[in-house]
Amino acid sequence: MKHIISVLLENEPGALSRVVGLFSARGYNIESLSVAPTEDASLSRMTIQTTGSDDVIEQITKHLNRLIEVVKVVDLTEGAYTERELMLVKVRAVGKEREEMKRMADIFRGRIIDVTEKSFTIELTGDLSKNDAFLVAIDRSAILETVRTGACGIGRGERILRV
């Protein structure tokens, strides 16, 4: 089952590699990972999307907590949460395709952020399944390049993760 785990950790060199090393050493999956400092520059917030049975997820959260630099760990998927991912897609856009691609971007509430004679770069945000759906909806052969940030998640309402 899919889980999104949020981690607050000390913004120190090497902290990220401890987390990544833990996943590879213990054979856990990382589907996506995004990390950046928070409003408090001494802390980084990491969102890890992973899959595994409940037992595995329990071990993952325990082992994350065991890392000295990890301050807090929350499995967002245990409660109400919302997630977003930013995706940039460069597509071939020549002749008739240009209008079609523009329309598809509109339907998915994407924005075209770069245009050349032959291509568009489309910016999309949404949950992972929406971004997946866009890639399925457009002509696959038109895709020149995609780049995705991975999920970035936050609890709904009063669910707050901070020190």
Binding site: G14, S17, R66
Partner: protein, 593 residues
């Protein structure tokens, strides 16, 4: 890369204008930190990146440095010291190969949760990442085998980092911490304001006290058990909780077993002790594990060598209570019903208090029946062997003789890894905690001599025996030289069967007797080798001479003695649970093969 000219000048300038606060270089700060942490011994090996640190050590007297012959042994010796005393063991190695040699030692300590601080030299900060001479990514290499590690890039961070390192190493579930100190950091001078009294880390606050509600629930379950069993591991020793464990077991009258790492936590000579459990555990210890209805696991982690195949283990229903300071050890391999996260000593103390208060007694009738079943298993005497053999030395006989001879005395026994380790664990019968020192988790051959050396340094008045084999002992035999230099007289008992015995045993049982590379050809003359190192060597080939040789070795109080016992090459360790089998599917002797 050496210290730059500019750095030299700035240091010289700083010295020329002394200020009121004391100026120290990083190396001196490091020494002050160790003094503040009451470090008595540092095992190490010098090299380019740690020369300033060695210079600072030269100028002080409170810390004794022990020069080993290989960095692996430095870490093992400090580890042995930590296991015997409970204090943080400290090792010092240089950058690059110094550190990579230390890796085996660090991993060994990590697997058994031993509190250690390993100081590693590093190339100067400006050279890091440039493939400098003797550079390696210490933090990267050691990351998966340490509790935590640090690279100190600024000398102003050094004191607080060391404070954190010692704090992390000894608190919570203990473990090794590596501090990587670049050469310029040990050289640079700063005004020194003293070693921090304490350190707080928002991201690290290990729990000590167990959850009261959980403990109460556990006690209820435990007191109502029909077939209770207490299974304890290294955590009891690490927490110094064997007094509490003894009190609890004695109050309840329940059967108790220790893991390989936990031997000595409960006295082996007590009837309530069923022996070690696991792959080479006794019938009674393993059968009780499988057939109990309530299991109290204390500071143990349901290791694969302990419970065998988890599917087989799960076939019998039982309720499990698990006390451990590390939440990640709970429900890792076996699903637990009542987890109690906390320090073993605290939790056991609370449990004892609850029993006293409640005045509830266990179900005496059920317990008597359970004991009857256990005694039935015990009567099989699974550790019997050919005791009266007059032709060839049975390895078990050497251990039993040593055990009888040293009963109740101030003795430490270390071992290496293999058959001799299992025989020592099975036949010595440890009655006291921290007296049996071996590598359980990582199973590192070569630890025996350095462990003995480290313990002898800490406990000069105790006798230290290293039970080893001719395979293991050669992995760190160079340390016999260190034993001479520092006058740490140990007794090395080598059960020499001319085979890598445990490998040979598996090959006999699981590989149809194809003894692939398990025969140690071209063995050295160990007696002469011991003599070459300046020690006493004894060769013992007949069972009748075993006792005499041990007596003679013990008489030579201030000499290191190496006894080469020529033991039966065909002897196997029984009982044995083959890999992948359940813990009650034991082979009891060669007749089962």
């Amino acid at each position: 890369m050496e210290i730059s000219k500019a750095e030299m000048q700035s240091a010289a300038a700083a010295q020329a204008h002394p200020t009121h606060s004391e100026e120290l270089n990083g190396a001196e700060i490091l020494v002050r930190a160790m003094q503040a942490e009451k470090v008595e011994y540092v095992w190490g090996y010098p090299g380019g990146a740690v020369l300033y640190i060695y210079d600072a050590l030269y100028k002080q007297e409170s810390i004794q440095h022990i020069l080993v012959r290989h960095e692996q042994a430095a870490v093992h010796a400090a580890d042995g010291y930590a296991r015997a005393t409970g204090d943080v063991g400290v090792a010092l190695v240089t950058s690059g190969p110094g550190l990579t040699n230390a890796v085996t030692g660090i991993a060994t300590a990590y697997m058994d949760s031993i509190p250690m601080v390993i100081i590693a030299g590093q190339v100067p900060t400006a050279a890091i990442g440039l493939d400098a001479f003797q550079e390696c990514d210490t933090v990267g290499i050691t990351r998966p085998i340490v509790k935590h590690n640090f690279l100190v890039k600024d000398v102003r961070e050094l004191a607080v980092t060391l404070k954190k390192a010692f704090h992390i190493a000894r608190s919570g579930r203990p473990g090794p911490v590596v501090v990587d100190v670049p050469k310029d950091v040990s050289f640079k001078k700063i005004p020194y304001t003293g070693y921090p009294e304490q350190v707080t880390m928002r991201s690290y606050n290990p729990v000590r006290k167990g959850h009261g509600g959980q403990i109460r629930k556990a006690m209820q379950l435990l007191l109502n058990a029909k077939r209770p069993y207490i299974y304890t591991g290294g955590g009891v020793l690490l927490s110094n909780a064997s007094t509490e464990l003894r009190t609890l077991v004695d109050m309840l009258g329940y059967p108790c077993t220790n893991t390989l790492m936990g031997l000595g936590a409960y006295p082996a000579s007590d009837r309530k002790f069923l022996g070690m459990l696991g792959m080479h555990g006794t019938i009674e210890a393993n059968n009780a594990m499988q057939n109990c209805d309530v299991l109290l696991a204390v500071g143990a982690r349901f290791d694969d060598r302990v419970i065998g195949n988890p599917k087989h283990f799960a076939q019998n229903e039982r309720k499990i209570i698990h006390i451990d300071i590390d939440p990640s050890s709970i429900s890792k391999r076996v699903k637990v019903d009542i987890p109690i996260v906390g320090d073993v000593k605290d939790v056991l103390t609370e449990m004892i208090g609850m029993i006293r208060e409640a005045g509830t007694k266990p179900d005496a009738k059920a317990l008597a029946g359970w004991w009857e079943t256990i005694e039935g298993w015990r009567s099989r005497d699974c550790l019997a062997y050919d005791r009266n053999n007059q032709d060839v030395i049975k390895p078990q006989y050497v251990i039993e003789t040593l055990s009888k001879m040293t009963r109740g005395q101030d003795v430490y026994v270390t071992s290496d890894v293999g058959q001799h380790q299992m025989w020592a664990a099975q036949y010595y019968g440890f009655d006291e905690p921290r007296r049996w020192i071996n590598s359980g988790g990582l199973g590192t051959m070569g630890v025996g001599i350095p462990y003995a050396m480290g313990i002898k340094m800490a406990r000069p008045n105790s006798e230290v025996f290293c039970v080893t084999g001719e395979g293991s002992v050669q992995m760190c035999i160079q340390e016999l030289s260190t034993c001479l230099q520092y006058n740490t007289p140990i007794k090395v008992l080598s059960l020499n069967n001319r085979y890598l015995g445990m490998v040979r045993q598996w090959q006999e049982i699981e590989y149809s007797g194809r003894y692939s590379h398990s025969y140690m050809d071209a063995l050295p003359n160990f007696v002469k080798l011991a003599e070459a190192y300046g020690h006493v060597g004894l060769l013992v080939e007949r069972p009748q001479d075993v006792e005499g040789a041990l007596l003679e070795a013990r008489k030579l109080k201030d000499r290191t003695v190496f006894i080469d016992f020529r033991t039966d090459p065909t002897e196997n360790v029984f009982p044995m649970v083959q890999a992948g089998k359940g813990i009650t599917e034991m082979l009891l002797g060669s007749e089962d093969l």
